[in-house]
């Protein structure tokens, strides 16, 4: 069943609301959970679901993402037939253009999908944290003989107006797709996971491409058009952990979720492993003065001081007398001695000098990057170069 399915993974997102975290890299490539990147969850879902023909659509700052995906080895996608292809915007005889919407990105790569003559197209987003068996959704899609199936998850009512809401009949067929409604009729939100019957969706995509008023977006344009044509659209109810890491705060929260007993399967599951693009680094060194509680530590690290409720990525070093709480330290950052950090995110390779104290005063975590570090250090002294 999975062999006649092509997956298109949208990984071009700028992730503007992630600020410093996405300054130089695309959102799906942002480090997550100690030794992973955000896209690893979707890539692992594909690997674990046995979907082996995957197009990864890149656009914004794709260098790291291209290198990370490579030929798909960590996810078993280095294949003779199918496998993973990184698809970037390109020029051809008709001209050249950036991807201007989710549907547009697919249309501009129709030739990629056509070569496999798939029965189904599965469209995914590379910036969500979740573990999902796509084969179950495919079964549901085929059992309903659906033209399109959209996976949905129950969200808290107060958040419903931030999502695309699926209004369904009793048999889960969709009669309305309500994009960010002010007064939601229910709380079933679209997760941005779509399965389409390829022969049905193909003409819609081509039709939409001609419409100059369209935003070329699946949620805003394609789905409503299919609904008005009374196509068979179904909502697939997903139960489990799902998080859109769209903001600094949700990024911080999703990382912290990894420390909770309830969500241990996100990284630890043997049945549904999450595969990083692993590096060859020595096991972490835990020093004489360390006190580590409720934290994740990654290889290549040298740890001293007090680490509580925090996530330390690969190659991190922390000094004696330092206290790190509720924080996320990205790869190869060096935290000096006698430093105090609370509710902060230190980005890759940043060196926090001895004695620095950086504590977030409210809910919003502080992001410390090469550019913002000085804003949080005492002015003057020897650092006036």
């Amino acid at each position: 069943m999975t062999s006649n399915t092509v997956a298109m993974l949208l990984a071009g997102g700028k992730g503007t609301r992630l600020g410093e975290l996405t300054k130089d890299i695309a959102k799906p490539a942002v480090p997550f959970g100690g030794k992973y990147r955000i896209i690893d969850f979707t890539m692992s879902n594909l690997a674990n679901s046995g979907i082996s023909t995957v197009g990864v659509l890149v656009q914004y700052s794709p260098l790291m993402l291209n290198k990370h995906i490579g030929i798909g080895k960590p996810w078993g996608l280095d294949r003779q037939y199918g496998g993973v292809s990184v698809l970037s915007p390109h020029s051809n005889r008709e001209g050249s253009a950036w991807f201007s919407g989710t549907a547009d990105a697919i249309v501009k790569n129709l030739h990629f999908i056509d070569q496999y003559e798939p029965d189904n197209l599965i469209v995914l987003s590379g910036d969500h944290i979740y573990q999902m068996d796509y084969t179950k959704m495919l079964e549901f899609h085929q059992a309903n003989d659906a033209d399109a199936t959209i996976s949905a998850i129950e969200v808290p009512w107060e958040d419903a107006s931030r999502f695309g809401i699926l209004n369904t009949n009793e048999d889960m067929s969709i009669y309305e797709f309500d994009e960010k409604p002010e007064e939601p009729k229910n709380n079933m939100a679209s997760m941005g996971v779509y399965i389409f019957k390829w022969e049905t969706i193909r003409p819609y995509l081509l039709e939409d491409e001609k419409n100059e008023d369209s935003e070329h977006d699946f949620g805003k344009d394609i789905i409503p058009m299919m609904l008005s044509d009374e196509k068979r659209l179904f909502a697939y109810n997903f139960e489990g952990y799902w998080k859109d890491v769209g903001t600094i705060k949700s990024y911080w929260e999703a990382n912290m979720d990894l420390l909770k007993d309830d969500f241990q399967t996100l990284l630890m599951s043997k049945e549904w492993p999450t595969y990083p693009n692993e590096e060859n680094r020595p096991p972490e060194y835990i020093g004489e003065t360390s006190e580590i509680t409720n934290s994740l530590i990654s290889p290549g690290s040298f740890i001293e001081g007090k680490i509580d409720n925090s996530i330390l990525f690969i190659g991190v070093e922390t000094g004696e007398g330092t206290s790190i709480k509720d924080s996320i330290i990205l790869p190869d950052a060096v935290i000096g001695e006698g430093v105090r950090l609370e509710r902060v995110i230190v980005t890759s390779g940043v060196e926090v000098p001895d004695g620095a104290e950086i504590l977030a005063e409210d809910e919003e975590p502080i992001v410390i990057s090469h550019d913002t570090l000085n804003d949080y250090l005492p002015k003057g002294g020897n650092h006036n170069g």
């Binding site: 630890m268 020595p282 060194y285 530590i297």
Partner: protein, 366 residues
């Protein structure tokens, strides 16, 4: 120097010194420092020296070795022309009368004849370092030597069966077990391929079982020899005690850093497990902890391998725990080495001494 030197890791003559740890694996595949195996260091040093074709004479008990070495890229042996050849016992020649490790040299002679370069660097697995033999090779070639022995000079010579060099000017005239001699021989040597081939013929024709002892050591005066002293940190393994002491010595932070990060990181098989999870009740000090581990108990001066689970209230001191062990709550371990897949049930206490660590064989449950 690329493609001029063939790497050979000869595990055949190595003894299975490490008691329970070498019951089911060869010395080369004994796990070390959480995620490595002893053979990794020989490969890393060869890789550091620009060697990109390596043969491994696998001797016996090589199952874990085959699995461990199955992706050469993990060890930095990269590119189309690079190879790691694992050569298990395969006695295919019916007229073959060779003995000892000559059986390997004879039956796998294609390894040498197909290699285009003129020199072979031979190493075992029970001496480890993260070093670079390039200079040694340069000197070997520059001085047109038949054999160059890689050695080191130490301040306080260690006791034990480590061979030492007797030298006269730049020539090596003999080997000794004299415990006072500080010129330790690492077991690594660089030899001209043509000389190697002649030695193979000589040994086989004369029913000699040891390439090194019969072919080189007993005939030193026939060769133009030399030595090269390395300065990198080294460790020698010849007993459970030395294994234990070497491990504990690397718990010193600077030493660990220098040894594993060095100029180049030590390479090993890349495998995937999640970051280490330290739960609320964990208390870990001065230890090396590999990935996939969940710690709820206390760990001090210990080395914890992959995917080990350490329960609440458990105490692990001065110990080495191999991968996939489960330490249930309130267990007390001191000076022990647990091989893979061992389970210690709730409340048990096991203690060895620093001189004589207590070793539990693979898959034991207590």
């Amino acid at each position: 120097m690329d493609n001029e030197v063939l790497g050979l890791i000869n595990l055949q003559p190595e003894q299975d010194y490490l008691d329970e740890l070498t019951y089911f694996r060869s010395g080369g595949s004994v796990p070390f420092m959480g995620r490595y195996r002893l053979i990794d260091f020989a490969i890393t040093s060869m890789n550091n020296s620009g060697i990109n074709v390596i043969g491994v004479f696998a001797g016996n008990k090589f199952r874990s070795l085959l699995d461990h070495l199955n992706r050469k890229e993990d060890f930095g042996i990269e590119g189309r022309q690079s190879r790691i050849f694992i050569l298990p016992p395969d006695w295919n020649d019916p007229t073959d009368v060779s003995q000892g490790d000559l059986k390997h040299f004879h039956n796998h002679s294609d390894l040498f004849s197909r290699f285009k370069g003129n020199h072979v660097l031979i190493s075992g697995s029970q001496f480890i370092s993260n070093t670079d033999y390039s200079e040694a090779v340069e000197e070997h070639i520059k001085n047109d030597r038949d054999v160059t022995f890689v050695a080191e000079k130490v301040e306080t010579p260690p006791e034990g069966p480590i061979l030492r060099l007797i030298t006269e000017r730049d020539q090596v005239t003999g080997f000794t077990h004299d415990q006072e001699n500080p010129h330790l021989y690492t077991g690594v040597y660089i030899i001209k391929k043509s000389v190697l081939m002649n030695i193979v013929t000589f040994c086989i024709n004369n029913y000699k079982p040891s390439f090194f002892h019969n072919g080189i050591r007993e005939k030193l005066e026939e060769y133009n020899t030399g030595f090269f002293d390395i300065t990198a940190k080294t460790h020698y393994f010849h007993s459970v005690e030395t294994y234990f002491n070497n491990s504990m010595a690397l718990l010193e932070k600077d030493r660990y850093r220098k040894f594993f990060f060095g100029k180049n990181k030590v390479k090993t098989k890349v495998s995937t497990s999640p970051p280490t999870l330290y739960k609320k009740t964990s208390n870990v000090k001065k230890s090396i902890v590999a990935n996939g581990v969940t710690v709820e108990g206390n760990v001090e001066r210990s080395i914890i391998g992959r995917n080990v689970k350490i329960g609440k209230g458990a105490v692990i001191k001065n110990s080495i725990i191999f991968a996939n062990c489960t330490i249930e709550p309130d267990v007390h371990l001191e000076n022990v080495i647990l091989d893979k897949d061992v389970r210690i049930t709730e409340g048990r206490q096991l203690m060895g001494s620093e001189e004589k660590p207590y070793v539990l064989a693979k898959r034991t449950e207590i």
